[in-house]
């Protein structure tokens, strides 16, 4: 049988920027407290699960939280435990480029004390050799927090 010729290619674009998505307003209350270096979690009044950042419906027990009232909010610690981590060897940009060892960012999945959720963050002021599962870490607050999620993107080891 003859080799089938290569097909004609037709290109197209699917721009995700054409769409809009909604997010919950009560995140405003969460981020406003970050400006005061305080972390607010949502505690399900039915099963006690604590979410950071907050959610409207408890994914454990399916109860709806009443975040317009104070009862379902709880202060949580800015300290936590590393659940998992990664060390980024390659920079994604214009192709993949190897990072110099001292420039490899350390990423962690942290469970803040008193919460049942894990959040992503970058671990700073820590050498690669010291990172491990179970290590204790704390939010590295900037002097003047901005009052958005970037305030809790960086942690340092305790």
């Amino acid at each position: 049988m003859d080799q089938i010729e290569e097909h004609i290619s037709i290109s197209g674009k699917w721009p995700l920027s054409a769409y809009t998505w909604k997010t919950e307003r009560f995140l405003d209350r969460f981020t406003a407290n970050l400006a005061k270096k305080k972390i607010f979690g949502a505690r399900c009044s039915n099963c006690g699960t604590v979410f950071v950042p907050p959610v409207v419906v408890c994914t454990r027990c399916h109860s709806r939280m009443s975040l317009d009232k104070d009862q379902d909010w709880i202060w949580v610690s800015d300290m936590g435990t590393v659940i998992a981590y990664s060390i980024s060897y390659l920079a994604v940009g214009d192709g993949l480029q190897a990072r110099a060892p001292e420039k490899r960012p350390l990423f962690i999945l942290v469970r803040l004390d008193g919460t049942d959720t894990d959040i992503f963050a970058e671990l700073i002021d820590t050498v690669e050799e010291k990172i491990k599962v179970g290590m204790r870490v704390q939010v590295a607050w900037s002097e003047v927090p901005k009052g958005d999620l970037s305030d809790i993107l960086f942690f340092r080891s305790l």
């Binding site: 699917w14 979410f51 990664s86 993949l96 990423f107 959040i119 992503f120 993107l153």
Partner: protein, 406 residues
């Protein structure tokens, strides 16, 4: 509920770019092979179930384009898509159809033609609603980058390693075994016969603990199977492969986008949903002690360390013991519980098809028709697994050489 069996199997040779076919034509190859294997025509098919990743090739409802090529003319057809586990979910859709008595003979097919698509846009289309909102609230930069693609699984890897004592060297050795198995599989994408753990260890680290040598390629490929009733299976096939148990379980997303808006994030190495799905599927298949009764396993392994974690979460050994059993040769082609003789998803990843191929490979092993990758041990019962969603969706199928009398 009726007994059912797989009587036809078609898998295409996986490659990085099939420039000579479009999606309907690529899938046609798998469908034709499966129909020929079953010795039937499209007129003998009562319904179809299809699936692939949504948006990865920029086409939703690809069955509108390909349905006619796949024998779907004037037939009921549904599409199922669950991320990485799509192929297994699609297959299970056909199992429900036959077991329920609604249809006798169902064609199930799954595919991905990654070279036609844009994986970044595809992934963004699944994560964007979550990530975009969090970005609006100040999430930025390197943390966003660290969550993409491989970024999702490095956390499962380090958490698992801390729990089990699995080392990067174990992952190198697992990758070497899987690459060598793939070299015996004519359908596999990567063909690297003779590659050693030392060779794998020389490949660059992407994100600790995963190197290039531990990761899957992007493939073009398709898989199709014919599923039918006990009565018809006995007429059509000399060796029907019985679908004795199946289950799927979803849990709270492990690492969704960023900050897991809308859900609890759980430790990605925990994988309770896999254990629950496995428990249910084994029970349905009448298997009480999987570590004794299962002869072969095809866990979903797009990254080499998952050979260990899913061997454990499929309840084939105690948690934390898989790396040691691997070192003892238990998972080899000649081993006591050969695992991923196909070379696994880490050697061929046409995403939508990948989890169905795990089932098809188990079926070929039970038929004794797996060629060079046929395991030494006689295979009576095998378990196939698919992993999807945000590492939170597990699909488990148990196959046997005899029907389980329920």
């Amino acid at each position: 509920m009726r007994n059912l069996a797989i009587v036809g199997i078609g898998i295409t040779k996986h490659v990085s770019k099939r420039r000579d076919v479009n999606i309907p034509e690529l899938v046609y190859e798998a469908v034709k092979t499966a129909l020929d294997d079953a010795g039937i025509q499209p007129k003998d098919i009562d319904a179809l179930v299809t699936g692939n990743m949504p948006a990865f090739e920029g086409i939703n409802c690809p069955e509108l384009w390909g349905g006619g090529y796949w024998g779907g003319y004037k037939k009921p057809l549904i599409r199922i898509t669950t991320g990485g586990s799509t192929g297994a979910s699609v297959a299970q859709g056909s199992f429900y159809m036959v077991a329920s008595g609604l249809y006798d003979t169902v064609l199930t097919l799954a595919f991905e033609k990654q070279s036609d698509g844009n994986t970044t846009i595809g992934l963004n289309s699944t994560a964007m609603a979550d990530v975009a909102n969090m970005t609006a609230y100040g999430l930025r930069g390197p943390v966003v980058e660290a969550s993409g693609a491989i970024g999702l699984f490095v956390y499962q890897a380090t958490s698992y390693m801390a729990k089990s004592g699995c080392t990067v060297e174990h992952i190198d050795r697992a990758a070497a075994m899987l690459r060598n198995n793939a070299a015996k599989n004519p359908f596999a994408h990567l063909q690297q016969s003779g590659v050693t753990a030392a060779d794998i260890a020389k490949t660059p680290m992407i994100s600790y603990p995963l190197r290039f040598g531990h990761t899957c390629p992007a493939s073009d490929g398709a898989c199709a199977m014919v599923v039918t009733t006990e009565e018809k299976a006995r007429k059509l096939s000399r060796k029907p492969v019985w679908v004795n148990g199946w289950a799927a379980c979803s849990e709270e997303p492990a690492i969704v986008g960023l900050f897991g808006a809308g859900s609890v994030n759980v430790d990605p190495a925990e994988q309770r949903s896999c254990k629950l799905a496995a428990t249910k599927a084994y029970s349905m298949a009448g298997i009480k002690e999987p570590w004794k009764e299962i002869d072969l396993a095809e866990p979903y392994v797009p990254f080499a360390y998952q050979l260990f974690i899913y061997f454990e979460r499929l309840l084939l050994c105690d948690e934390g013991h898989a790396p040691r059993l691997f070192d003892q040769g238990v998972m080899d082609l000649q081993g006591n519980l050969p695992t991923c003789p196909s070379g696994a998803v880490v050697s061929s990843n046409a995403i939508g098809a990948a989890a169905m191929i795990r089932i098809a490979e188990c079926a070929l092993q039970i038929r004794g028709e797996a060629g060079q990758r046929q395991v030494t041990k006689e295979v009576h019962n095998a378990v196939a697994h698919g992993l999807g969603g945000q590492a939170n969706f597990n699909v488990v199928t148990v196959l046997g050489d005899k029907p389980n009398r329920r």
